[in-house]
Amino acid sequence: MIRLFAPTGCVGFGFSDTSFEAGMKARPEIIGIDAGSSDPGPAYLGSGECFVARDAVARDLDRILPVAKKANVPVLIGTAGGAGGNPHVDWALDIVRDIARNRGIKLRVAVIRSEINRETLLSSFRKGGISPLSGAPVLNEEVIERSTRVVGMMGLEPFQAALQTGADLILAGRACDASIFAAAPVAKGIPRGIALHAAKIIQCGNGAVERRIIPDGMLGDLSNEDFVLTPLLAETRCTPESVISHSLYENPDAYLTPEPAGVLDASKAWYRQEPDGVSVRVGGSAFHTSPHYTVRLEGVELAGHRSLVFGAIRDVVLLRQLQPFCDALKLKWKRRISETFTDERTEDQANPTHILTIRLYGVNAAMGAREPNTFSGHEVGIVLEAVARTQERAHTLVAIGQNLIFHAPVQGWSGQVSNIAFPYSPSILDAGAVYRFSMNHVMRLDDPRAPFPIEVVQL
């Protein structure tokens, strides 16, 4: 038996004090918290920033770390700082350092890094050790060279090694969500199918409850045969349906989840409501070991710098001809840019130096080319946007587009028109660096721990 405790689904998302106390009272052996995701997009891995506010992360950790230290329960954090790169891990470590100092506690921290350097990537790529995941962009040596940052998603093994250092806190870079929670159970001999399935659900905190009112905690009791999930927030419960439905969320496959050492298979799992009506017991989860151990690589590259202008169109005569109006405007916009700058190449040419986009909110902004409906309505939000090599140039390109569209003639009207309601002055917003995912691959490893060095820091 081993009891795992996830106080919340993501560091910084918060939890109730009552739930946390109840969780600690249940005397868990491990506290785990996921701290990141690739879901907020490539910008965070690229910039080194965290998508969760520092204050929010500090508040959660300040409530967890002193209590866990006192109870002598190790805390495992995966994908520290939101994206798990070195700046993210350092940022999280800095927060922990502040907490240790302010609370007057001594913390032994095992820091596991996950950035994979170019030499390792190139050597693995040349040996055929890197393969694409579904939908991944084409990889070559140039992509590896120009990628800003690449992280590997560690499996259980680095966590298991870090646990052996006797650390109070394990602060890990990019990690498979399930590894955070499955490391200790697997080390104790719990079958991987049970451990990983339980871990996969618990890492979302109370994500698998019937109605999640606020992000909160979950307990998991694992044995060799099955596991029991118990949400901690009063008046919330897990049901077999809520647990199975949760397993669909953000997973490409309904039943199979690839992990570094193999595949978690929940296709024959069973789910039973416990007599308390709150907990759910799960069993029958299997694990199929793969012939090769692989870790997922997440990499990003700089795409440029973005500026944009937002406004509304309320002229119904213009709205009737909006798409041809925008198509013509875009042509004019491109032409004006090439007349103004000899060093700019548009997307019609090889190696474009900028990307221009017109987004129409109220028409097809959410789905783009996949939108099946045609426009009907009385108002449209419009964004003119440029991604260019520098922020200054992006700003200038948007200014050119803005000037063109504001007074562009509208068929049916004569005389000077002003086509857009701009809500802001200044109207052009400089949105900073734009990244794109350059790698979504798996890399074969002979040693699951090799690219994930562990350093013990005494705070």
Binding site: S38, D39, P40, G41, P42, A43, L133, S134, G135, A136, P137, P240, E241, I244, S245, L248, Y249, E250, N251, P252, D253, A254, Y255, E298, A303, G304, R306, I355, T357, R359, A365, A366, M367, G368, A369, R370, E371, P372, N373, V387, V434, Y435, R436, F437, N440
Partner: protein, 111 residues
Amino acid sequence: MPLLCDMTSLVRSKNAGPFLLTLDIIFRDAGSYESVVRSGALSAESIARMYSTPVEDVKFYLCPEIHAIKATLPRVVGSGDPLDTDVYGAQQVGPLMNLEILLDQVPAGRI
């Protein structure tokens, strides 16, 4: 004809990693699930048409134990790409919700 959004407790879209989009359709009850499965309105082919994607790129799952249907397909571009429209893939549900379901007269439970 009822719409899919009137027969479901949840229709959601979300990224499944930076390059895939996954659609979860969870029905209100087994009867609604069975009648939609029987109607043929949802299949890998119909999803492929709705999302302008080659059918061989669509993965389609029936999950009768929770009366749900799931499909996974490629995103148009990677999440957060300069040309992306929806970083989390959170609002790619419109055509699904408005899907008209042709119900037959066979009682529920007899697929």
